[in-house]
Amino acid sequence: MKTLKILALLLGLMILGALSWLLISAMKAPHSFIEEFKTEMAGIKNNKVILSYPDDLLERKTRLDSRLAMSDDDSIGLRINLKEKFLYLEIKGIVLHKTPILEQKSSSFFKHLSVAEKYVLFHNPLTIQKDDATISKDQFQEVIAPKDTIEAAKMTEIIPDTTLTEPVMYRLYLNHGIRVQITGQLPDSIPQFWPRFRFDYRDRYKYLKELTRSVIRNKPAPYQPTISLVINSRDAEAIYRAVPKKGNVILEL
């Protein structure tokens, strides 16, 4: 009995030790991310003239440069303005859709960026590398063609249900390891706890898996600066379906 107790205690300590190790590695992650970012940006640092612009002008230049760069593209792009708290869908400089940001939360990484660093990171639109969503980009319902007019008459025409029923949540993984998470706000009457929990859990599980792998391989732990936004659910759906898979995203911080 005594041996069993000692073994259980040892096991407990080992588990706690492993978890502490994971936590320390996770806490170290931003440091290695920033170091990597610095190395990546070292080349652009040479552009001393632009980076020496007064802060207010450089901030404006960042916005204008990125919008102009996005207007060169033929597809719809997303512009996120955290200062004005609005999300815009744009194509060729034309604003197609505008929606207010109801809630926003961003990683501390963004708060530490200087205006010059923001210029380096955001003067060109970021590109969506992949996404993860609770809804599909294109949802098709399949209908078998009727054999004759009798069968066609029997077929009831599908009247689509346009009421909000499913929670809309998605993450856009952008270059530079940045990601944007958009959640559609639904009325309280619609059950959304479990879908949200599942979506969130999936992300945490994936993160833990990557973290453990990097710890085992003795590599820097992953860090993805995230911007989380809550907007109207219908708008969230429209934006997700409008922006192409490899679309452009402008971040205006």
Partner: protein, 249 residues
């Protein structure tokens, strides 16, 4: 061996009470259950704590570190040089002009397929907005081929305009009704009522047109075309010349 000696060897000596260690008291059943319960609760609490660490604290680790100032130094250590701010202001003003010029000066139509709404603009001015109907996002599975009924997203151009249009029914219109497909040019293919009073062709067979099914306006029920109410269609038709843009998202 005498009888006394034999007895002394074979019988174990009885320890007198009070000498040596006292016998251990037996644990009562209640105390045992309590002990097991405490262990069980302890184990549950330990694993709950571990799960909390795993799924709540550890994923927040990077943010905790940044909040506590670990890795706070993100600066690229740029040594600024003197710049002519008047020149910079001019450059910014030029960029702003460029952005302004991007907005089309003429009329253009924006269609939101999620909300089934349209917005008619002329430059930056909104001329009209209202309900429309767009593609129903279904796939018709027929014997020879499948048809996808979806409104194509992106930028399109008005390629032609027509008053009192006649709809030349494509094959799927017959397949959907369970009718045999007539040969091209057959009179049953032509329908002078379904498209309403006007049509604006935007390429690949897609159109902006009117409808007989006004009750379904605002719902995604079409085969890919954009249906408008008569009054809206008239304004759109009269405002948009050939070559103007129709942006669908």
């Amino acid at each position: 061996m005498t009888e006394r000696e034999f007895l002394a060897d074979s019988v174990e000596p009885v320890q007198p009470a009070g000498s040596g260690q006292p016998p251990k008291p037996l644990k009562s059943l209640g105390r045992r259950i309590l002990g097991w319960l405490a262990t069980f609760i302890g184990v549950i609490l330990f694993f709950t704590f571990c799960l909390y660490l795993l799924f709540v604290v550890i994923p927040q680790g990077p943010e905790i570190a940044l909040a506590r100032g670990i890795g706070k130094d993100t600066s690229l250590t740029i040594t600024k040089i003197a710049v002519d701010s008047v020149k910079v202001k001019k450059e910014i003003a030029l960029l702003e002009k460029k952005i302004d010029k991007l907005t089309t000066q003429g009329p253009y139509l924006i269609v939101n397929t999620t909300d089934n709404r349209f917005y008619l603009y002329s430059g930056k001015e909104l001329i009209r907005e209202g309900r429309c109907s767009t593609g129903k996002n279904t796939r018709l599975i027929a014997k020879k081929r499948n048809y996808e009924f979806k409104t194509p997203r992106g930028v399109h151009t008005v390629q032609s305009k027509q008053k009192n249009p006649v709809w030349a029914k494509p094959d799927w219109a017959f397949i959907e009704e369970g009718l045999p497909i007539p040969p091209p040019g057959h009179e049953s293919r032509f329908d002078a009522y379904t498209l309403g009073d006007y049509k604006l062709a935007i390429g690949d067979g897609y159109m902006v047109h009117g409808t007989l099914y006004k009750r379904r306006m605002g719902l995604p029920v079409t085969h890919g075309c954009i249906r408008l109410l008569d009054e809206d269609l008239e304004v759109v038709y009269n405002t948009m010349p050939i070559g103007s843009k129709v942006i669908i998202y």
